[in-house]
Structures are given as C-alpha cells and as structure tokens.
Amino acid sequence: MGFNLLRAITLSGVPAMKFPFRSKALPMLFMGATLLTFQGPAYAHGGGKAEHGGVLQMVGETSFELVVKTDGVELYVEDEGEETPSAGLTAKLTIINGTTATEATLDSTDTNMFVGKGLKIVRGSKVAVLVTNKATMAQTGANFSIK
C-alpha cells in the first residue's frame, strides 16, 4: 500500500520527521493508515522515537505515542525520554469523525501506557489527546489526523 513511511507533520502540514517501518509492523496500524500528527517540534528534547509501533508526537519535552489497534488504542507518554507513569495522569481522547465527536477517558496502567479498549478509530478521523497531571493540573495536548 506504499505506507512504508509514517510521516509526522507539523501544525501546518509540512513533514518534520520520518519513521521507517518494516512491513511486519504495518498490521499494527489500523488498515495501514498513515497517521499525521500536528503541533510541536520533533526530536526537540529526546524521546523522539516511536517504540511501540505507533506514531509519535513531540510537544516540547513531552512525547505522545498513539498506537491504533484493531481492538482499541494505546497511548504512551514520556517526558525528556523518561517514561511518565500513567497513574499520575489522566488522558482524554476526542475522536472526530466527520461531524461526530466521541470522547473517551483512557485507563491508566502500572507503566507509562494508557489503554482504551474497544475504541474504534477509522480512517479520516481526527484524534485530539489531552493529558492532565493529577498533582499539578498541568495539561499537555496533541492532535493526530488519521488518513
């Protein structure tokens, strides 16, 4: 399908980084879709590599890796390349498909991963991620567009 590159693009849509993908990694992505990510500099402060077969978005020092699976969604959070325990955070996804917006709160785990079991994300959807630190209420967000 020619999706051998996962291209993360900036807010304005220009490629900022490329992720080489081996063909066996492709099934991990929903229908081999190209995920376009927005906002924030890439490779700016470490932690700039997708490690779970998803697409990475850097927002300052924070990285979000969104993994779209056939049976749900995973979100991994790192700060300056260090895993951020999801137990100290909340994560909310807004999935916009056409004029329909679906919101979902992801479940934390004992690692830096959030899970959203059963969440369906189809091609053409926009996914907005908002993570809030429970202690400081600091919020960091990112936007993904799935093509």
């Binding site: 500099p41 890439a42 020092e61």
Partner: protein, 245 residues
C-alpha cells in the same frame, strides 16, 4: 487651548490617523508548558491575574468548531487555560473599560464626562484567538469575537518570511481599514497595513516560533457621553515549529 487640542484630535480621529491608544492586547502563549492568557504589549507581559475580572469569556473549540468546556485558573502570577479536551482553537475576550487621555499624555480609567480636559476618550475591548491544532476548515466567525483575525483557508506557512493571508472580521463580517501588524510581541510599533474591503491583509510570517498578529479597528462610540470611540483589538496567535535539534 484645550478646545483646540480636542478639535485637532477629533479631526485626526476622523481621518483615522491617531495612533492606537491603550495599545495593550491579549494573546495566548506557552508558559512552563502550559497555555497562558497574556495581557500586555511587546515584551511587556503584564499582570494578567489582576485583570482576570475583566475577562468576559474564554472558550475552546474542537476541529469541527464545537465548543469545549474551557476555563482559566490562577497559577501564581499566571492565568492558565484549562480545557476538558484538546482544543483546536481557544479564544478570549477582555473588557478593558473606558479610558481618557489628558493633554499631558496620561491615561485615566474614566470617561470624558469625568475627565473634562480629555483629548480623547475611548472604550477598549481586547479579543484573541489561538490556533492549537490543525485546521480542517476555515475558522468561522465566533460569537464572542466582535473583532477577529482569521487565516484565510486552513494552511499556515511553516517557515518565517512566507506570506500569510488573514482576514479581519468585525461583527462577523469582513471589515475594511483595520490596522494589522505582523508581530505584536517583537515589533509592536511596526507600521500597520490596512485591511482591504474584503477584510484581507497579506503579511509575512515574522517568527519561527510564536506569532501574534494584531488588528485594531476603531468604531463609533457606544456611549457618546463617555467616549469618542470604541477601540477593538484582536490578536491571532500560532506557532511555527523550530528545526529538529
């Protein structure tokens, strides 16, 4: 003498040549990773917390322009934005009240009914829109943004120096003659360009980082007993990413 000053001021105002008074504005900017509402001009990042009571609205919208629950919270000296989900744009309105300028150049927060020697009195309102995510469609005229600056279309340049076409809307419609500057933070005294009849101005993107485009439009007095005019100031902010490190 005062009458002469007022006459000259009124004449200049009628020509639209008076420099913008009470030149402060509001915009959103990142502070310690968080989105903060800034009040100031140029490098003057002033006391926004003190002005929180003047903030009449703050709003967030998703990619389909549906409202997102949005609020401000005080965090030390900052006013930080809190949203229930990740917004595509956020907006705010600050009602800055009535101000009068005395012949010696001092601004007093009173109407001309209380400052009889005022050379100009104005009601000032500040608006701002910040782009926080990719635009999938044209930013619409938003209900609380009496004056609004929006990019034409959905594409934002990715490098400084590239042209960007913006449209100035007043009460939801394109307005002619609004004065627009490309960089309210780093060049607040820059020579403004005036919007055309279709509200459009083409600027060069100034910064590979935060860009704050500001538009000023002067309208007729809403209360002629107190002010000579209403000054509307709107900003549009967006960020161009820096190169990979």
């Amino acid at each position: 003498m005062n009458n002469i000053v007022r006459i000259v001021a009124a004449f200049a105002l009628s020509l639209g040549t008076i420099s913008a008074a009470q030149a402060h504005g509001i915009w959103f900017a990142q502070r310690a990773t968080q989105l903060a509402l800034i009040y100031g001009i140029g490098a003057d990042d002033l006391d926004s917390v003190k002005r929180q009571p003047l903030v009449k609205s703050v709003a967030g919208y998703d990619a389909e322009w549906k409202p997102i629950v949005t609020s401000l919270r005080v965090a030390g000296p900052l006013l930080l934005v809190e949203t229930e989900s990740q917004p595509t744009i956020v907006t705010a309105v600050l009602e800055n009240g009535v101000w009068s300028k005395t012949p010696d150049g001092e601004w007093i927060k009173k109407g001309k009914d209380e400052v009889p020697n005022a050379v100009i009195s104005e009601h000032t309102v500040k608006y701002t829109t910040a782009i926080r995510g990719p635009l999938s469609s044209q930013i619409p005229a938003l209900p609380d943004q009496t004056l609004q600056v929006v990019p034409v279309g959905t594409a934002i340049p990715v490098t400084l120096g590239k042209p960007i076409k913006v449209r100035v809307l007043f009460q939801g419609k394109p307005v002619k003659g609004a004065e627009v500057i490309a960089d309210f933070v780093n060049d607040p005294d820059g020579k403004p360009l005036k919007s055309a009849a279709n509200g459009i101005v083409t600027l060069k993107v100034r910064n590979q980082g935060l860009n704050v485009i500001a538009a000023t439009y002067v309208g007729p007095a809403d209360d002629p007993t107190k002010v000579d005019r209403v000054e509307y100031r709107a900003t549009l902010t967006f960020v161009l990413p820096h190169a990979p490190e």
